[in-house]
Symmetry: C2
Subunit: 463 residues, 2 copies
């Protein structure tokens, strides 16, 4: 299997990046009934090759520029394999002390690598935990915020329709989902307007808060974004943080992809203001070579989180927990059970070294900036939003329909894969450069491909 995976990475560029199958193509090749008797691994792997592989969109291809990435690396895959092999379930300290203590240590490493304030470290009042995704982290933050604001009474009595949360129009959809899940209701979520850089306008935030207070409502939560999904916009953390403190809101920072950049001293400024935040999360499974899933969620006051999510039935009681000397991470997230996910993160940080990680991040940003420069110098394309890091949003001057056709033609061709967004009513193409094995050559080829496809389309379909 290890050989199979090595071969796969060797040959990954031979596959169309975006799977070209039609709905039902894969399912129709799979038997309708499970086999009664054992089948050999050879039979199964033959089906992997013939049935599954055509239905794969190759997230690990160096020509994958879509969405935010979900990159990976050799040490990560090995660490994850070790986790599968050990098969421990780290819900409590006692159910594998190493699972808890390695996690605590590695997350403290990350806090230092990101130059986070001490309050987010396990040695202070705060701490951190590995969650599956930034969605779950945002939900956990929102719940702790809800409980802190209502003196931990909402857990007992339910919500009452008077709590209000704030995001910008560019905040990730997971926060809206969390608002619904938490029983707050979408009507109590305010979408604050953004400036020309797509960043939240803090004066509008304050106005909205004051309005809500006037109307007898209770502002309790704001999510600021560092690197929005659409355009990598960065909200003004310091200003939002000051407003949060003034009105006693819980400030959560979602830096799902971009957060990784802050391990490079020259990009650490994207987190300036984080000292005012109550929680922060980013995904090593996006841009830090650690395979999905691995979200790191930092909280300044761990007691708020634990008081919100803790349940202790008899069958989970044990001496270590009762002693109070240990962390039981089950109280830090939605689920009870948990994988030994810190292993892969530990493998990645040690095998790359902090400098090795920085090098790759710096290269990605350098390539993206070069791509942005090509766009700026082009007569046919516009840079549609600032490109502070590794995501470049651009559009051909020929209008929305043309851009849609351009995207679909290129993705169908299979040499590369990128996705779109809409910015100020423009259909915009997104090039996100963060795949582990992407080199300048891949980016250069992508740019040629985009130019050539646009030229061909202009000829066949002049506007």
């Amino acid at each position: 299997m290890i050989d199979w995976i090595a071969d796969y990475y060797e040959n990954i560029e031979k596959y169309p990046v975006l799977s070209q199958v039609k709905p039902g193509d894969i399912k129709s090749q799979l038997p309708e009934i499970a086999p009664l008797e054992s089948e050999s691994m050879e039979q199964i792997m033959a089906d992997v090759n013939s049935i599954i592989m055509p239905g794969i969109t190759h997230w690990q291809s160096p020509n994958f520029f879509a969405y935010f990435p979900s990159n990976s690396s050799g040490p990560s895959v090995l660490g994850d394999l070790l986790s599968s092999g050990l098969g421990v379930q780290g819900m409590l300290w006692a159910t594998s002390p190493a699972c808890t203590e390695l996690e605590t240590r590695v997350l403290d490493w990350l806090a230092d690598m990101l130059q986070l304030p001490d309050k987010f470290k396990s040695t202070s009042e705060g701490g951190s935990v590995i969650q599956d995704t930034a969605s779950s982290a945002a939900l956990s933050a929102l719940l702790a915020a809800r409980e802190r604001k209502t003196k931990y009474q909402t857990n007992e009595t339910g919500t009452r329709g008077n709590l209000v949360a704030y995001v910008s129009s560019q905040t990730h959809s997971s926060v809206e989902k969390a608002i619904k899940i938490a029983g707050i209701g979408k009507n109590n979520l305010r979408l604050i307007g953004v400036d020309e850089n797509m960043a939240m306008q803090s004066d509008l935030l304050e106005t909205a808060i004051i309005d809500d207070i006037h109307n007898g409502l209770i502002p309790f939560f704001v999510c600021a974004t560092v690197g929005s999904t659409s355009t990598n916009a960065i909200d003004p953390l310091t200003e939002i943080g000051k407003i949060s403190q003034k009105y006693e809101l819980w400030m959560h920072i979602d830096a799902a992809m971009a957060g990784t950049a802050a391990i490079c001293p020259e990009y650490r400024h994207i987190l300036d203001g984080i000292e005012l935040a109550d929680s922060f999360s980013f995904n090593p499974h996006k841009w830090m070579f650690t395979n999905f899933d691995c979200n790191c969620f930092f909280v300044a006051d761990r007691s708020a989180l634990i008081k919100t999510l803790s349940i202790l039935p008899e069958y989970l009681k044990n001496q270590a927990t009762e002693s109070g000397a240990v962390i039981d991470y089950r109280d830090w997230h939605i689920q009870l059970g948990r994988r030994f996910r810190s292993l892969k993160l530990w493998f990645v940080i040690r095998n790359y070294g902090v400098n090795g990680l920085r090098y790759h991040i710096q290269e990605h940003i350098r390539m993206a900036q070069q791509f942005a420069e090509w766009i700026r110098s082009s007569d046919e394309f516009d840079l549609v939003a600032p490109a502070p890091l590794n995501l470049v949003c651009f559009a051909h001057k020929n209008g929305n329909e043309f851009n849609r056709e351009l995207l679909e033609t290129i993705n169908k061709n299979g040499e590369m894969y990128f996705t779109h967004t809409v910015v100020k009513d423009r259909y915009v193409l997104r090039m996100c450069i963060a795949q582990t094995h992407t080199t300048e050559e891949h980016v250069r080829k992508a740019w040629k491909n985009i130019q050539k496809t646009a030229a061909d389309l202009t000829l066949t379909d002049p506007k």
Copy 2:
């Protein structure tokens, strides 16, 4: 790494099952700061051996009888490795069609293996999805129930303190956690009493519902359990189902561990009444040789679930989704991102074959029944609850303190690991027999160990 794992399984019985380290032992051996430069895999693996391994509680040991198991197998580890290697993120059909379509097919296989009603299959109005844990599945069910009952308005307006949910005193704590998360409030959760077999008393359920309606409240959800965590108690599904239908409650069935037994025709009766349920979940990562995490969540009306959890921002729009011809599993759970978890399940079902899986389940139950018989024939121990499947709850006649001491002595000794619960004020020992490699010899040795330790304790500490 594969060799390391093979060696580990070879030698697993040499380790103390429950890790014997003290709080802080592991962490204190790990450097406080991440390495700047790359370290070799050899260095890392040396630390795995010397630092991590002493901090492992060996869930995969055949002498692990604690909690509910989290068992695994060779094909599962390989399938999970393939998932890590491919590194696809299956949030949308388009982001890897095989990830979605294999999942749909394998879950339909499982529906047939469990003889579930057609309504839970993808070919009907229902369907199923792999979630991480039964906690997340219960939360998803609860949210869909909340929305269906309030005509999908709670997502908009928030909860209003008038919805009421029902569980038994034996229901897993994850439902109480879900009630809090969903903004319903613990005060609106009724704990229905149980009979002498620790099963929910359906007449008390109906009485509670009627009371709540009289008080102007809105009953909306009941969770029935097949195989409770404490004692493997089985709630009366048919009676609870009829009451649910009469009062229009969403009935969720939590069969986290015990559900797997229903793939054996002779134990399928544990699910009798499931045709009245709205949702059902069980964990192949507990007792079906599929490593954590893998929960299968079945729902009779997928539209209720999707309407509850769907969010569609611009950057996730794509032709396949808009066509309506595909499943986007991100709308079926809390998170957005998702691993390719059906691979390991597919590998397990094919490599074992349904008959192979049944054989191991039957063996586990046979061994547990034998152990229960030993307890019944013993003069010193009582069988404290019925043992319908693979969990045996028993207690020494010498009282609670003695049983606590017995448990702690045995676990500290390291030859085996089991845990406790409290039943009718008795401190009770739990033997759960479900580990992949547990044989009759292990169970026999465990029983001898229990008897001998009890005898030694009686001598040194006579009551």
